[in-house]
């Protein structure tokens, strides 16, 4: 008797949970709004408002903090009703090979003509923009607090070998970025699959770079740089400059070493199952209207690397870097199963020595 009572109650509880759970899922019909799935802090409010004003279409945004998070969500539950997703190039190529994307209708996006030809050159994963349209091409680099380091510092990746700044430098806590930097410094491709080249890069990092850095930091390097804890940081420029007032920008030297570094292209893609494909094309064309693209760049103090028409409309005129600085850089590409060549070496770099 006792056992039966509790069993019935338990079944009831589970049923209630299942019913309420299924009640929450989104309906399959389009609600006329445009659903974006973008990185946190990557969609200016002004753009959202202006798009609604011009087209009458409301934008709803969900955020993700990493490509892995976005991809896990899409793989686990299919497309959650998103019309545009903003993956980086490695994940764009994964999504293309997995057949997750709709083709882009170029006739609906005349503003594609503004895309810098260099972007197409770097976008080996989709050079014809069949499945993706570039959102922004950027790069990591090195920020130096010139007020606090000796004047004759080297403007190359070799700066991390400079013992005078020992204990005041940080490298990103990112396998592809750091190993890529070492590979580029040694004159190899940042996407190499050659174990000997990778070993050499690992040795360089372990023996000459790691002893001089305080830590591998991808979380708070901007804050540490701004309070004069770190003088030299391997970083994404927007994260560093966002922490500093514009007056202090003059003492900051941000550069992408001449030997080249690791760069990225963030894209806009339309996933299969999108409900508002028409509006998605409208948005992609809208953002690449030079006047609108300038708003996006100014909002994040980004340099005009991606859209050739935007520069005259921009308010900001001091750029951290230009597209010419990226000539020698390699776009981080998907390595598939060969990523383990990097994993094993990165473990040694991070945990063993």
């Amino acid at each position: 008797m006792k056992k039966h009572g509790s069993l019935v109650l338990g079944v009831l509880l589970v049923l209630v949970l299942i019913l309420t759970g299924s009640g929450c899922s989104k309906s399959k019909r389009s609600d006329g709004k445009l659903h974006l799935y973008n990185w946190t802090y990557y969609t200016p409010d002004e753009i959202v408002a202006k798009f609604k004003e011009e087209t009458g279409i409301e934008i709803v945004i969900d955020h993700f903090a990493s490509n892995e998070e976005m991809f896990a969500k899409i793989m686990a539950g299919g497309n959650h009703g998103y019309d545009i997703i903003f993956p980086s190039s490695d994940y764009t190529s994964i999504m293309i090979t997995k057949g997750l994307l709709e083709e882009i209708d170029h006739s609906k996006i005349p503003n594609l003509s503004y895309i810098d030809p260099m972007v197409a050159e770097k976008a080996e994963y989709d050079p014809t923009f069949t499945y993706s349209v570039p959102y922004f091409m950027g790069s990591s680099g090195i920020a130096v607090n010139t007020a606090r380091v000796p004047e004759d510092y080297e403007r190359s990746w070799n700066i991390f070998a400079d013992e005078r700044m020992a204990g005041r430098m940080s490298l990103l806590d990112d396998m592809r970025e750091v190993m890529g930097a070492a590979l580029k410094h040694l004159g190899y491709s940042g996407n190499t699959k050659d174990p000997a080249e990778l070993d050499e890069a690992m040795e360089l990092i372990i023996t000459t770079w790691k002893p001089n850095i305080v830590k591998f930091d991808s979380e708070s390097f901007g804050k540490a740089f701004s309070r004069n804890e770190f003088f030299v940081v391997h970083s994404y420029p927007e994260n560093v400059f966002a922490e500093l007032s514009e007056e202090s920008w003059s003492t900051i030297d941000f550069f992408i070493p001449e030997e080249g570094g690791m760069m990225y292209i963030d894209n806009m893609v339309i996933p299969k199952g999108a409900r508002n494909i028409e509006a998605a094309h409208q948005f992609i064309n809208f953002i690449h209207e030079p006047e609108n693209y300038a708003i996006f760049l100014d909002d994040f103090s980004f340099p005009p690397t991606t859209n050739t028409g935007a520069k005259p409309f921009m308010e900001n005129e001091s750029f951290f870097f230009t597209s010419e600085d990226l000539v020698n850089s390699d776009n981080i590409s998907d390595l598939g199963a060969d990523l383990d060549l990097y994993n094993t070496r990165w473990q040694k770099i991070r945990y063993e020595h």
Partner: protein
């Protein structure tokens, strides 16, 4: 036809009724997720995250690796050091609180920091410990040093902040047990010739053992799984197991390996909990078998001793 249930059956029924929400909650949000983690740790990794449903011991094989061994050893020594420090600081604090007239106020003060987000408290420590932060700028100003000391981004800073974060978890259980302790026993011990420290060690400590083991578990387990503290105030060699789990999920896309490491954390916690249960049981057992160590027994021994002593004096 209604037949009144006998009160005992009724109570049992009601008991299982009341028990269901909690049982259901834990099954759904604790047991099931844990089972999924166990299952995942025996699966093959998916190339782009997730798992392939093939049984394999790969994840556990990958764990046997000098890099991870170093991290495991580091995690153990950081956790043990931080926990022992927590206990050493918490014992006198809890004792002082138990003897104080302002218990409510003191309890309140211990609990207040919990109202602030832990990240904010970690960032506060970053500003205190920075090379050009609070401590260093004061030391420079009063002329003790010329250049900032390296107080942050090393394992010392990790231990310091961990001790700060988990100290209340050690103080609270110790306080509750010490509060129940009969302090007249200490006076008795002093009467019998023990100095203050010996009386605390020989009379009080054995009586608050369960509190000490609870405090140990409450601090050791969360510290062993710490993630944000080593990430934010640690240096290049402060990685702990918690950080590896996050890296394996979000960077390396190796979910089975992350699950296998979570299994280690769970196992360590389990061992801790069993140890706590065991010491609790043993204490009960001791109360039954040997009356020597319980407060009552001690009291009667002391009384007997007093009687004997006063007789002798007469």
């Amino acid at each position: 036809m209604k037949r009144p249930l006998n009160p005992r059956t009724r109570e049992q029924l009601l008991g299982s009724l009341y028990g269901w929400p909690m049982g259901g909650w834990f099954t759904l949000f604790f047991t099931v997720p844990l089972a999924i983690i166990i299952l995942y740790s025996f699966m093959k990794r998916g190339l782009y995250g997730g798992v392939e449903f093939t049984l394999t011991l790969n994840a556990y094989r990958e764990m046997v690796n000098p890099s991870f061994a170093m991290v495991l050893v580091r995690t153990i020594w950081i956790s043990v050091t931080a926990t022992v420090l927590c206990l050493l600081i918490a014992l006198p604090c809890a004792y002082a609180m138990a003897r104080s007239k302002h218990q409510t106020l003191l309890l309140f003060l211990i609990i207040i920091p919990f109202w602030t987000n832990s990240l904010i408290r970690i960032y506060a420590w970053i500003f205190i410990l920075s090379t050009e932060g609070l401590i260093n700028s004061i030391l420079i100003k009063i002329g003790l040093i010329d250049e900032g000391l390296k107080l942050i981004y090393n394992n010392g800073a990790v231990i310091l902040v961990l001790v700060y974060m988990y100290l209340p978890f050690a103080i609270l259980p110790l306080f509750t047990t010490i509060d129940k302790f009969d302090f007249s026993l200490l006076d008795a011990a002093r009467d019998l010739g023990a100095d203050k420290f010996t009386s605390l060690r020989k009379v009080m400590l054995p009586n608050i053992k369960s509190g000490v083991s609870t405090a140990f578990i409450f601090t050791f387990i969360p510290i062993f799984g710490a993630y944000t503290v080593p990430l934010l105030v640690g240096g290049k060699d402060s990685t702990m197991i918690g950080n590896i789990i996050v890296d394996q999920v979000s960077k390396t896309r190796n979910w089975p390996l992350a699950s296998a490491f979570s299994m280690i954390l769970t196992l360590v916690s389990l061992i801790g909990v069993f140890w706590m249960l065991y010491t609790g049981k043993r204490e009960e057992q001791m109360k039954k078998d040997g009356p020597k160590r319980t407060p009552q027994a001690l009291e009667s021994t002391v009384k007997a001793h007093h009687r004997a002593a006063s007789k002798g004096a007469r």
